[in-house]
Symmetry: D3
Subunit: 326 residues, 6 copies
């Protein structure tokens, strides 16, 4: 059934109970503090590509545990800083891909930092990734990333990813062309889930663009959708039978519901009502918990592609108004 989730009227009011560990904030403070012990040491190596309007830098920086994380940094050529900057996170299974695939924001006057998701992108023909995740976990995991280290919040894969993503904001903020008070985090699907988390962990960002976010409302997601990547969790639980309590405890430190409840910055969400990868109730769950100024674009006839490039135009206009750019 294409409309398999709650009807839109109920979604608008859907405010699910959150399962939040008492030390959620402490966990993240500790995590970010530990990471901060590693010098960020970003590099910006000019990338040799015959573009004329944009300067491209092959970038990396010290993410979680000091591991090097790759990124593209793009700056409108000849820009007189400081520029607002969009920090962009990537959807599940993809990587930062190619610089020339990220020209929208630079062409609109924004510096842009496109951050690899560690360990992802090796099977993606369009958007390959180049960042290793040089850590195994304390247990085997289901192929994919969802259950890597999931038995303990300290070893969970997304602890490293969210930390990398948060530090990417510092990379952007520290670049001379960037206006550190005009950093916007953005992403779709996994990238939306990451942006949502970073915006909560870094209330100094200027805005968040959160499309069809993944990694939100795990409990409902695993029961309502048959599709990956949420189903990686179910495959793990089906095999590793004594672990559900442990797994859901870990996930509670990473659930977008808990990040949304801490979100203070202006957020533009989008949701698709026929999305069976990130079902609309999980997206509205996050959106309805969001504390800051917010808007949501509803795509009634779309699956997980959501607004796609339509939403990008919405975002261009949205930020243009918000930041008076372009």
């Amino acid at each position: 059934m294409p409309l398999f989730d709650l009807p839109l009227e109920e979604l608008r009011d859907y405010l699910p109970a959150r399962d939040e560990p008492a030390d959620f904030d402490a966990f993240w403070s500790r995590t970010l503090a530990e990471a901060a012990e590693h010098d960020l040491s970003p590099t910006f190596t000019p990338y040799d590509i015959p573009l004329t309007a944009v300067d491209v830098y092959d970038t990396d920086f010290a993410g979680w545990g000091g591991d090097r994380v790759k990124a593209w940094f793009l700056v409108p050529r000849g820009a007189q800083g400081p520029l607002p900057c969009v920090v962009k996170y990537i959807g599940y299974s993809g990587g930062r891909g190619f610089a020339h695939d990220h020209l929208t924001w630079p062409s609109a006057g924004y510096a842009t930092l496109v951050v690899d998701t560690r360990g992802q992108g090796a099977a993606h023909v369009q958007n390959p990734g180049s960042t290793a995740d040089p850590h195994g976990g304390g247990a085997p995991h289901v192929p994919g990333m969802m259950t890597r280290g999931v038995l303990d919040p300290d070893t969970y894969y997304y602890r490293r990813v969210f930390t990398d993503a948060t530090r990417a904001v510092d990379v952007a903020a520290g670049h001379p062309t960037v206006d550190a008070e005009a950093i916007v985090v953005a992403g779709a699907s996994q990238g939306g889930g990451i942006a949502q988390a970073v915006a909560a962990l870094r209330p100094d960002v200027r805005a968040a663009l959160i499309d069809v976010p993944f990694l939100t409302h795990f409990r409902r997601a695993v029961e309502i959708t048959d599709r990956d990547p949420y189903q990686e969790l179910v495959r793990f639980l089906a095999s590793q039978r004594g672990t559900p309590e442990q797994v859901f405890r870990t996930l509670s430190y990473f659930d977008g519901l808990n990040f949304a409840a801490r979100g203070q910055v202006p957020a533009l969400y989008s949701v698709a009502l026929m999305d069976d990868i990130c079902p609309p109730s999980t997206v509205f769950g996050g959106y309805n918990h969001w504390q800051g100024p917010k808007e949501i674009t509803v795509w009634p006839w779309n699956n997980h592609e959501g607004g796609g490039p339509f939403q990008v135009e919405e975002q261009l206009r949205h930020l243009h108004k918000l930041l008076a750019v372009g």
Copy 2:
């Protein structure tokens, strides 16, 4: 079997016999002459999108039969013309999509014209199209475009498409910012097949970028690949049983083999050895018949995605050298 076609060594020498109608050139002269009776009357309506580095125009022009064909025209802002211009054709089932998805060439200093394929793009969530093909044919056709009007070369769908595409070169050439002697036609898959045809019909273009071209070597394609869109032809022949001779006669006016045999301009092809949509022997069939200067990039481990964004970087460098741009 991933490597289902001829081995690479045989592909390099594969020069299939061509089935060419005696009046091939006459057919196309007449077709283009008839089209020329319609005033091109291009429009360039500034498109309101907050980009700063590129000017975007919502464009249309009179294609085959005078039908209006939509396009995006993008120009690096503040460019001092005349600029080289890339005319880009689209893959099967997609449309011109969104202007902000075509920023690579403008960011490299090229004017860019992205041409809708009439009648396509209504089911494409990322790259919707907006150009009607206001013609039925003299017979029913298989869902899709491959068999639309296929019983007669005069009514065949691709007659209209190739004519539109050829006239798009005039649209580009006629724009004040464009250097009419530096127009490059480009495309992948169906877009590659179109570029191949246009480059043959318009020997005044400066170069052609032809990726994993479709619409080439129909006879072999329908026998060797199980996949669409070539299989649309087989479905038609399986139903409309008296028609094979008629159908293949029509196709002979549109076969990339015959266009390639007339290709004089420098061409950069690409081919993927595991491509089961446009099998490598059909691509090499075209490439080996090409008469002008030529190179081919071979992607040994890819399916129909071919070189994807890698190939775009190759093309940026290739044109940069050829045209001394960027």
Copy 3:
């Protein structure tokens, strides 16, 4: 879940609100009046096939816009007219097929007119079609017929189809062997949807046989079934994003609910409770709105095949009683 729709008890009472445009009747009066300006000019060419009990005519007539529509006309050999006549419409994607596939009604003493659905049947190996739909629309459409011209009721594909179908009744009525007061319209799936519409537009037909009708209760259908052809609409809406209001306005002129609400003649419906192509609630939606005498055969264990040949026997007996034929 095999029983995915409402339970039978609720279906029996299911009377959905109808979304009917104020000028519904005016639209159809105008449409049929315009068509009537084209002379019907039916042809009945004897078809050379060694049958002894039936005379077969390869028929065509001027449908919408004067376009020629193909049909088979079969008459029991040596029949002393006037005969009752069954006008039969075809399911989605098929055509009139072969004369010898339509011998049931002629063998039961009925003249029979089997009407092509314009533009369909080119991919159907058993029931090929031979009627072109020589019209494009003002926009691209999703492969298939559901969204052809869907942005405007005047250009919508089914405007032409329903008009052809209505004029087919005139073709039958005008033939010397046919009793013009004993014409029955019949069809399954798309054919059922057409018969339902024609029976409403032509209250002078004697009866309607409407099996598992398609094209009825669009709003619910697109939300409740994942399958084609209803999903063609969703693919269009997912791509052509500004259009839903326009699309549903168009569909309101073609929705079987609105035709059923005008149905006065005796109707025999059938429905299958596990039908996930034309879900039972959409069928009962039409049936419950039907105003004339009516019966419905419920097939509890079937999918879209419905009663199949069982239902044909029911219909033979039903008409035999109603018309005292055979």
Copy 4:
């Protein structure tokens, strides 16, 4: 690959070695003789259906082991016998279906006997069967009929089927309206395989119509096609590991190659070059071994549907010429 079998030129000459048991003829003589001990005792119960041109009889007769086999017997109403008669066998998984689905031959002046295939048709929604096969075998079998009793020619399922089919010729021949010297056996796929066998076992039939025959050239079929029903044999051999020699010995008594080599009556075959259920080399294997007068219609673009209703028209014309009927 759509054209996965030998090229047509090689197919024309393809004459595979046959694996024929020494007692092939003895086996069949004994089998038919044993069956002949059961009185045929056909019944012809008028079937109550309001047809006017055809008389329908619900028929059964004593097949192998005296088991009752269902059939439809249709006679043009008012026919002055003796009439030629088509005995029609059914494709795999279907049954005799409905009388009104078999009106082609009666409408052309032939008596027609449509014979159930015992045990089949219980899952077929269009052509249900009603004949039990009240015998298990001496071993379990793969779901389906191909391996039922396959360890011994005496217990093999098709021994019973071919015997039923042969006796059906007696049923036809014995009916007062039928011209016993003008009986034609016909069928497609499994029905074609049966017709091929019966025509060999009963050289007194007048002709055979054999479309895309199944049950022919087992050895090649199981190696070249991935599809059912031939793959039922492979599933059996994969599970019941000591049995291949025994299985292929059994099959040698039933292989269409061996029947074809005994075929003396005029035969009209058909074959489809893209048929991956009954691959063309298996069909040509039979055809090329056929000893009598023969023709073959080649459908180059079709899969197992073969000529479908086109071929039926060919057959109508073919018999019309051969028998001067209709």
Copy 5:
């Protein structure tokens, strides 16, 4: 949706109405009495396999109608009887397989009898079967066993299977090494359904181990799951249209709900909440009707694999406690 059935809280209380024929007990008394007229005559042929800890016997015995049913009988070598004995039934489509695949219970000190399900296992590569079901039914059936003889309780396939299974208890009880008062019936899926039935028919068994039982609550099963084997019933009903009443009457003699309502011995059930082959409501339906002492293990994240080998360990411990074995 992974959790497609009732929520666990409702499942705990789910006690569906039972459709029980008045002569249910009489039917089974008669059936078992008739079977008892055949001498059981079990054979225990030592099977030559170089195991040292277990003696293996290739066993058969007279099941329903005196047909020979194969089994493996395994006894811990050197055991001083009498031993408790587990009688194990097999899941759908498999057979007794290999002796060395059934070493768990013998290694724990139990004699073990692994009983073929007649007619099954010919397509199973891991667990082939070797027992014929030398009976057809009075009608054709859907490939598979679910509808074999389903028009009459006397001819229904599972009448023979349940009878075989009940007599297997006698085989075990009669062996000198077995303690006839310590026989436990066990199985998963179809094996669970059989064990459930046998435990009701043979209140002298000591316990039952019933995992994710099949053949229980047919009415709900056919409406709620799209998957085989329950869907075999729907395919039959879709084809053989006059039969539903007859079919459900037959099934009422075999429905696990009715056996469970007679179950007196201690039972350990298991159920999986994401099981879409034997949906949890059908399992709880049986469990909640069970009259004897009972426990159920709930596997919340599993599909039809249920507890798999985890559950086996549970059973080892459960019987160890119950019988003080091992």
Copy 6:
């Protein structure tokens, strides 16, 4: 096509060229020597399960890099050592599973060590694994294990696995009940590939049982089979485009062809001719290079299940003869 690889006669002689790095032996000497610096420190914790014939130990030991690797160690209860010991490796994606699933060899008088494959088994419902692979690589990898660290032989995943597996032989050899001169390595698919490698690296094992081995003849495998896991390599190469040379260099250190060429101990192989996961030419490639005494069981009708439990019986008999056990 079921028989898609070379015909059996050619397979018997198929001896593909090997691509062997000059330092192959040095690489492995160094690797094993480094591992040897970690004390093996095996643990044997009695596992509490009520078995009577077998003692079960939950075992772990220091594998590559000192990482703990889990295993089951099973010993016939009351055995008077020294016993021969089978060291068993596991197929791709599974883990050591449950002790009671490995009772065949213990029941035949062998000590048995079942070794987890690090990092695998988290998604396997029947055979879960419990051993982490606490190492990432220097690059992202395709979900699964095939490309983990594949850019460098030192970081490649299978370096760790083969090392673990080799050390498992020491674990067995060091246990007091085991006869260190009667250790047999065994496995199917991945387990077969591991056994093949270990038997080459440890010429002191007594024999090898190698079923349908994976990880052998990579070059041909990736070109001839469309299926996983070999296709993980192709997905990597399709995305990470500059890497093929590097990847195949790494694989040359792990290719079963090169291990087979060093195999001296008696080996029993098995191969399935319809195996499209480990195609028969890759298996024969290894077998034909094997230097020691060898036999191969050919399963002509099977896919990757190969001989399954049949082959286990063959192995029981084979070892019984070779070692005079049981």
